[in-house]
């Protein structure tokens, strides 16, 4: 029997409109042949045609015969909502053929992927010794050498540009057109340093903005200069920090190198929350899911990207699962992927308080240590215990801990959080970025509730 909550299902919806549409269909009158087994949910939804909807419970993947390009589609959302709210409506039974065959196909594909993956890692280990791969390896080495050159030239150019900027003074920047920043960012993309390009693009949004923008811009320029300085001297850095510096400039770490160099941590991981950002003007969506180790208290962030609104793996906020995570190499490893998940079933919903910081001060100490290891760290997931939300008319809400210390929340309003707290302290989970906390989940009165997006 499925024991997820309505809120968790809504968190899986790709956007508000499919959540809304799903809610409308989430009542038995729209359905026939509703059923469930240990592996799956299924049902046929009466829309403009009869759509066959099935959900693989091991991954919460949805397959529907409707033509929608959203994943999950409204029928999938509706079926899960129905199962969450009125499980009795879905009879426990053997899956019908159209469900069983899909499950079987999924199992075969998964097995194939796995053997391909292990074959790939096998090749990687053998590669230095395999003669046949030698020409390919040398071609790859040439490509890397060429890119090293390009990046180095890009950084030289950027540093000159930064110096010019400082000589002229920041006061004149407000008069610059958007192209001033865009062109410089484009040059860095050409130099294959997309990380630096992103920093320049972010500066364009700061100039002239409300508040003390010159200080903010100076901070960003300075940190960028520190980064190029570190990159120039990367051979003198310790190897873990060198990994960070190269990733921040824009070198990606291929999956096999993550496997080879990244550390592994086994724990019972709590999905404390997730959020999705969209890149302006592009259809790329980035999902960040924060996990917190129940034993290690360690935060980890799983990133997924999509261009058509489907994320490969569905992480349900508020579940606990036993897994090994593989971290991207770095001085304060945060980004991770699930390396292997134990067979033991997921605990559907967090029922006990998350491991977290008793005070805001204690969390900020962890933050300071993290910055000490990796000075460009831009975000950190956390669970703050016993904090009270303080509403505001101006979208600048706060949370306060028992000692009276306060942190600002991301601009917006948090009525649901306030309703859940009722003026009493709650355990708040979210992402701190050095300026404000983005609330992602809350634990109160023995239950977890997701807070981001449709559930905000």
């Amino acid at each position: 029997m499925l024991t997820i909550t309505t809120e968790q299902v809504l968190a899986l919806a790709s956007d508000a409109s499919s959540a809304q549409a799903g809610r409308k269909l989430a009542s038995p009158q729209h359905w026939q042949t509703l059923g469930q087994s240990a592996q799956a949910l299924w049902g046929e939804c009466k829309g403009s045609a009869l759509y066959q909807v099935r959900v693989d419970l091991s991954s919460m993947s949805v397959k529907c015969s409707c033509p929608s390009r959203k994943f999950p589609c409204k029928h999938g959302v509706a079926l899960m909502l129905l199962a969450a709210a009125t499980p009795d409506a879905l009879t426990e039974s053997e899956p019908p053929e159209w469900v069983a065959s899909w499950l079987a196909k999924r199992a075969t594909t998964a097995a194939a992927k796995e053997s391909k993956a292990s074959a790939a890692s096998g090749t990687a280990q053998e590669s230095p010794a395999t003669r046949a791969n030698a020409p390919a390896a040398s071609a790859a080495a040439k490509r890397v050498a060429r890119r090293e050159r390009l990046v180095a030239e890009g950084i030289d150019m950027l540093d000159l540009w930064l110096n010019d900027l400082m000589r002229a003074g920041l006061g004149r920047l407000e008069a610059q057109p958007a192209s001033f920043w865009r062109d410089q960012a484009a040059r860095l993309v050409d130099a294959q340093a997309p990380g630096l390009a992103g920093r320049i693009r972010a500066m364009a949004g700061v100039v002239g903005a409300a508040g003390p923008w010159p200080q903010r811009l100076l901070d960003m320029l300075g940190q960028t200069a520190l980064l190029t300085q570190a990159y120039r001297q990367q051979d003198t850095l310790d190897s873990a920090l060198r990994e960070d510096v190269r990733q921040l400039v824009g070198w990606t770490v291929p999956a096999d190198e993550v496997d080879a160099r990244g550390e592994v941590a086994r724990d019972r991981w709590i999905t404390i929350g997730q959020w999705v950002s969209e890149t302006d003007g592009e259809r790329l969506r980035t999902q960040r899911t924060w996990l917190l180790g129940q034993r290690s208290r360690r935060p980890a962030m799983v990133m997924q990207f999509s261009v058509n609104s489907r994320f490969e793996t569905a992480f349900l906020p508020g579940v606990v699962f036993d897994a090994e995570l593989r971290f991207w190499p770095g001085a304060y490893p945060i980004r991770a992927k699930v390396a292997s998940q134990a067979e033991t079933p997921m605990e559907p919903v967090l029922r006990e308080r998350p491991p977290g910081h008793e005070t805001i001060e204690a969390f900020l100490t962890t933050w300071a240590e993290a910055i000490g290891h990796q000075p460009w760290l831009d975000r950190l997931g956390c669970a703050l215990l016993d904090v009270t939300p303080i509403p505001s008319r101006e979208d600048d809400w706060l949370i306060a801990d028992r000692t009276g210390a306060a942190l600002p929340l991301a601009s917006g309003d948090y009525w649901r959080l306030l309703a859940i707290s009722g003026g009493k302290p709650v355990d708040l989970m979210g992402e701190w970025n050095g300026d404000y906390l983005l609330p992602l989940g809350v634990f109160a009165e023995g239950a977890y509730m997701p807070l981001w997006g449709i559930n905000a």
């Binding site: 909550t5 009542s27 709210a85 003074g169 010159p214 320029l221 300085q229 900020l364 910055i371 008319r393």
Partner: protein
């Protein structure tokens, strides 16, 4: 912290001679010199930013919100929550009242996480019904959001005496009214004294709202205050005062109204003659009757405005006759329609159950010309009298209407059905469903209208009793060839069935 401004100032005007300005922090000691003054400034700014970022200091929290009072009601089930989300999202304002009413009767509340959605989506006409389901938490929550003020008003009702005092002195009018209403419920005398204290200082609109609270626990002791209000400059205040005074038979006002009415009647030999005056004097105007128009129809207005303020029972005592006898005695009167309407309004106002059925029967048997003369259709009179009618009269009316839907020119079948108290009786529901089925079955393939039945689905959806849902959900037969109007009606019946299933959900998920 001067370092910060020095560094920023240097960056704003452009780096010139000299090294990077000091930050007065350990950052100055970092070996970051590059030999280029712009670069030096940048690197120090970067280190200084990182230093501040790592050393982020929390602010001091302003006062945290008060703690929400403990809930006294248990929360509704997860399935009920899903169902309510469905109703809110689909804006089923026709079905939400039943859900809220069942929550209220079952003593259940919404879970906190649903409150913002409920507060945002409760339509204005359902707000009063929604309030109990919001629980203590919802009412507490509403105080923080200006657009939820309608619910926060109730907070005044839960206030402690000290808090109530503060609200009374400083609160918004709606909150002050709530404080007064609460006090009136438990300490009527004290509430009236509170009102008298502030009476002269309040604006007319506020006086109207405050004065209206006296209708709760109304008693003879309120007469002096009400009579003071009857001398008010504002007509709205005077009208509010008369609304209460007419319900106090011992008041001078009620006596004056009775005397005026008595002067218009002569009852002798089984005949009730009606003779309203042609004009009113100063005293009538000061009794709040100035709404009477100066010309044409004036006598009718004087008659109506007087009689509607006198309890119908007075005429039984006055003339020693039962309602039926008095109504029969009116038969030949040219004023019959007006008297009937005024007595119907008075019966509704004073809850005169014994008058409801005799009045209603006369309305039903009256000619449409007479009803037209009363200037109000059956649907208006029905709204006045139906709540007071014995079940047998309601049933007889409904069955007759269903059997012969076009018998009243001023009352459609749908209007008639929406007058019925809900839920309908089993007999009425059965007759309705059987006739509806009959109607669809016998529709001519070329029919271009589905009235009067088409419009009845909305009142039937909210009126049918649960016991008849299975019957309502049985399929309907339609001609195979059909006009678009019939096709549309078929669609409406599908929506009707979906609505019935939703109601079944409401009833099952919120058991009483």
């Amino acid at each position: 912290m001067t370092g910060e401004t020095d560094l920023l100032r240097a960056a704003l005007v452009g780096a010139h001679d000299g090294g990077a300005p000091s930050t007065d922090s350990p950052v100055d000691a970092l070996p970051l010199a590059s030999g280029n003054r712009e670069r030096d400034l940048l690197l120090r700014a970067g280190a200084w930013a990182t230093y501040r970022r790592a050393g982020y200091l929390p602010s001091f929290a302003p006062e945290t919100p008060s703690i929400a009072p403990e809930e006294t009601r248990p929360v509704c089930s997860e399935a009920a929550v899903a169902m309510l989300v469905n109703l809110f999202s689909n804006r089923r304002n026709d079905l939400l009242p039943e859900a809220f009413e069942r929550l209220r009767v079952a003593g259940l509340r919404l879970p906190p996480s649903l409150l913002p959605l409920a507060l945002d989506s409760a339509p204005a006409e359902l707000r009063a019904a929604a309030v109990p389901a919001l629980g203590a938490r919802g009412i507490w929550l509403a105080q923080f959001n200006p657009s939820w003020r309608w619910a926060a008003t109730r907070l005044a009702g839960n206030a402690t005496p000290d808090e109530a005092q503060v609200i009374w002195e400083e609160g918004a009018t709606s909150q002050r009214v709530e404080v007064l209403r609460r006090l009136r419920a438990s300490e009527p005398e004290q509430a009236r004294e509170l009102l008298a204290d502030v009476w002269k200082r309040e604006k007319a609109d506020t006086r109207v709202e405050f004065l209206a609270t006296l209708s709760l626990n109304l008693g003879p002791a309120d007469i002096p205050m009400l009579e003071l209000a009857l001398t008010d400059r504002a007509e709205r205040v005077r009208a509010t005062a008369t609304d209460s005074l007419m319900a106090l038979p011992e008041s001078a006002f009620a006596l004056r109204m009775r005397r005026r009415g008595e002067a218009m009647f002569t009852y002798a030999g089984g005949r009730l003659d009606v003779n309203p005056p042609a004009d009113v004097d100063e005293a009538w105007t000061s009794d709040g009757l100035s709404a009477i128009p100066a010309k044409g129809g004036q006598r009718r207005e004087i008659l109506f405005e007087t009689l509607r303020r006198v309890p119908p029972e007075h005429w039984e005592a006055q003339f020693g006759a039962a309602p039926d006898a008095l109504l029969d005695a009116l038969d030949d009167s040219p004023w019959r329609a007006t008297v009937l309407l005024a007595w119907s309004a008075a019966a509704a106002r004073f809850g005169s159950a014994r008058w409801a059925a005799p009045l209603w029967r006369r309305w039903l048997s009256a000619s449409s010309a007479m009803r037209a003369e009363a200037r109000e259709g059956l649907s208006v009179v029905g709204r006045l009298l139906m709540p007071l009618l014995p079940r047998a009269d309601v049933g007889a009316f409904a069955l007759a209407l269903i059997a012969s839907p076009e018998q009243y020119s001023d009352l459609s079948l749908a209007e008639g059905l929406s007058l019925l108290p809900r839920p309908w009786s089993d007999a009425v529901a059965d007759a309705y469903l059987a006739s509806l089925r009959d109607f669809t079955q016998n529709l001519q393939p070329d029919a271009t209208s589905v009235e009067p039945w088409g419009a009845t689905l909305a009142p039937a959806l909210v009126g049918l009793p649960y016991s008849r849902f299975p019957h309502a959900l049985e399929s309907f037969t339609f001609p195979t060839k059909k006009t678009w109007q019939i096709t549309q009606f078929e669609q409406s019946l599908k929506a009707f069935a979906a609505g019935i299933r939703l109601r079944a959900h409401i009833i099952q998920e919120i058991p009483l």
